[in-house]
């Protein structure tokens, strides 16, 4: 399996979870929104952990690029983590306007981020990592828990 197809699949799964959480926020069903947002946040943070602890170090070691694309991606993860925190607060306060506004920012930010990863970083990983290391990286990523 290619790294890009595995990671892309995770991106799409997070998108679906996010859309479900947003649906509950729009409907004003705050208990459901809370539950679904938690599922989205957990899945996203686990995905980030997979990247930051396994994939990025493998890429950096293989290419020697420690100040390049992985740094940009880690910085964007920080931005998303910040937004997750703000959204959780808005859901807790049941502030629909703030929650939906943050959801809009989150969606665009995440999608721009995903696009960069899918088009550049994952493609570079698939090209640069030797097959065995790629297999090992994928297996290690699958084992990551929050």
């Amino acid at each position: 399996m290619m790294i890009s197809s595995y990671m892309k699949h995770e991106h799409r799964a997070c998108d679906t979870l996010f859309a479900q959480a947003e649906e509950a926020m729009a409907a004003g069903d705050w208990n459901l929104a809370d539950e679904r947002f938690l599922a989205f946040a957990n899945e996203t943070l686990r995905h980030f952990k997979r990247e930051e602890e396994i994939l990025f170090p493998a890429f950096e070691t293989q290419t020697g690029m420690t100040q390049g694309p992985t740094q940009v991606m880690k910085y964007e993860h920080e931005q998303v983590r910040g937004l997750i925190g703000n959204m959780a607060k808005a859901i807790e306060k049941q502030d629909k306007d703030a929650a939906l506004s943050l959801a809009e920012s989150m969606m665009i930010l995440l999608q721009q981020h995903n696009m960069k990863e899918e088009q550049m970083l994952y493609a570079m990983c698939d090209r640069q990592l030797p097959p065995e290391l790629k297999e090992h990286t994928l297996e290690s990523m699958k084992k990551v828990a929050l």
Partner: protein, 427 residues
Amino acid sequence: MFNQQGLSLDQAPPITVVFRFFLLGSLFGILSGVSLFVYQTDIFNTSSIAAVTFTHLLTLGVMLSSMFAALFQMLPVISGIKLSSPLKKANLLLYPFTLGTIALLLGFNFPNMKWLFLIAALLLSFAILTAITPMLKELLKLQNHTPSSKGMGIALLSLGIIVFLALYLLSTLSGIIEGTLYTQIKTAHYSFGLFGWVALLILSISFQVIEMFYVTPPYPDLVSRYLPLTLFTVLILSTFISLFYANIWIVSNILLVLLLTLYALLTLRRLSQKKRPLSDATVWFWRLGLSALLLSLLSHLLQILTTLEILKPLSYIFFASFALSILFAMFYKIVPFLTWFHLSSQGYFSAPMMHEIIHPKTAKKHLYIHLATVVTFVLSLFMPLFIFLAGVLTVLSFTWMAYQLIHANKRYKDTQKNGEKFEMGNM
């Protein structure tokens, strides 16, 4: 810790670049509304000066300016391209482009001052070619192409071709050359303009943004990979063949209509499959734009098959409605997001949220104004007095757009001046 500057912001253009081009577009839009009070329903007579001026006010003044705004923003995102010194590049485009467009519009209206066409030719070709050459070069260097980045490249190439075709037309108008192929080149010029540039750029961007903004299933590979290239090939072949056999455009127009109808129906279907629950104004702008495209294509097809005069202006009105609707759809996503993104990337805790920059209700109001504008344009084909109302609504619509930009810019500057900043050095 991460160095904030020069990381993710590095790939985003300075906010002023995007704002300036959108503002220029809205100012030309206001001017187009004002021009309706002078030209009135003459704009529907396609061979009149009024029609040529009005068309260029919209295509060159409004659409190209705004598309450059969107392009400076979308190019780094869609293709990962980082344009060096974007502000310098933007200025090198903005001023000659503005002056060139004004010279062209004046040239159309003062036929004795042929030198205006020469100035327009020099300024516009310099501005546009200087802007698109580095973009095309960077796109060519890309190792991982997506359907969007490939489509954008083809659209930019079309824009380059439009400029060369326009140079032939302007050389003829200014009396430098005889222009024996004037009619054929003119047909190629507007066909490339409407299909090769406007439609192709919109569909290339949509392959990415429809899925991204609204969480829809992706476009089928066959469509996203091959549609842009097919459209471009039809245009190129038709242009060459038309030099010997002008009627080829009838065949190619039918083909283009069918291909774009497929695209519009497919995109409407994708929007109906979106996973995000809310239909904000931008979704409706897309739906309105795609429906207008379908109506434009239908009128265009009927016009080829029948001799009904009204179909021609009808297909133009709907095509302009298509392009402007998509422009507004992109505008209401790009401006609030960029304002928030730049401020929060600069570390401002108090960065306003997207809804505080432009509230969805504000965008919805613009949607109604825009819809009313389209309806009054159509009505004015039957009751000419409606053209004045169309003029008022066009001015209102673009003033609305300009006001949102000024407001967003004010929020941006205010936050920079008074906002509480997160200093990385304190960590």
